[in-house]
Symmetry: C2
Subunit: 143 residues, 2 copies
């Protein structure tokens, strides 16, 4: 009875994007990828297991950092090609999902160029500002 795995529309590489959202705060922590086996393992273990495209193998989130994600809910979208996990980010308080030692991977916020008008007359100008603190030195996370 693994029909539920067949319901997912895996892409040509056999992967789908997966959003991890902190259950308690609603913060979006990261996006990663899963293949069929990663999703099966996630459901079986109740912890996030992704597929690392760079390492080309299953990635038990927290296997090196200790920053395991406990999974409360697994959601699938209307097109069956994106997953959403509601998680508790374990291993540090507050939780650290990002390899940079930050709470969330989405720590760069687009900032319009100061003085720029809402650009109805040309391309928007701006830059990416880091807006979240490093909670733990990455060197102490990955020994």
């Amino acid at each position: 009875m693994t029909d539920w795995l067949d319901a997912v529309r895996w892409d040509a590489q056999g992967l789908v994007p997966v959003i991890a959202q902190e259950a308690s705060s609603g913060d979006v922590l990261m996006m990663a990828w899963m293949n069929r086996e990663a999703l099966a393992q996630t459901a079986a273990l109740g912890r996030a297991v992704y597929y690392s495209r760079s390492r080309a193998r299953l990635w038990y989130k927290g296997e090196e950092s200790g920053h395991v994600q406990q999974v409360h809910e697994i959601r699938l979208d209307c097109d069956a090609d994106v997953l959403l996990l509601k998680v508790t980010q374990l291993g540090h308080q507050p939780g650290i999902a990002c390899h940079t030692g930050r709470h969330s991977c989405f720590y760069l916020r687009w900032q319009p160029e100061s003085g720029a008008q809402p650009a109805t007359t040309g391309p928007a100008e701006g830059r990416w500002l880091s807006v979240e603190p490093v909670l733990k030195d990455p060197e102490s996370i990955y020994r």
Copy 2:
């Protein structure tokens, strides 16, 4: 000064995944894709403009449905290959992001098979349950 667009690591198709999150509730509404022009337009207009892979053109979210997403923040992740928008979902109250007439596209929740033990002994069994109501008949959204 569009260096900020160059900072994004566009994939081989010139796209990146984009998560839309409701600013007020924290709900993850949908995931879509952007190319460089979609992101530039989103920043310039303050409303979500995606790239539709199926239609192979820019998709001004709400262009047919009226369900426009007003954009409050644009975030970029640590690897510069995923975007996160914080939005207000306009056009209906509560907001409808999904083409099925639901608030969020992530309305399918994985439900373990009843009676199944946490599967330490085999693959997890379960099914996808629809857990969010249809707020508006899609036929009345897309005339």
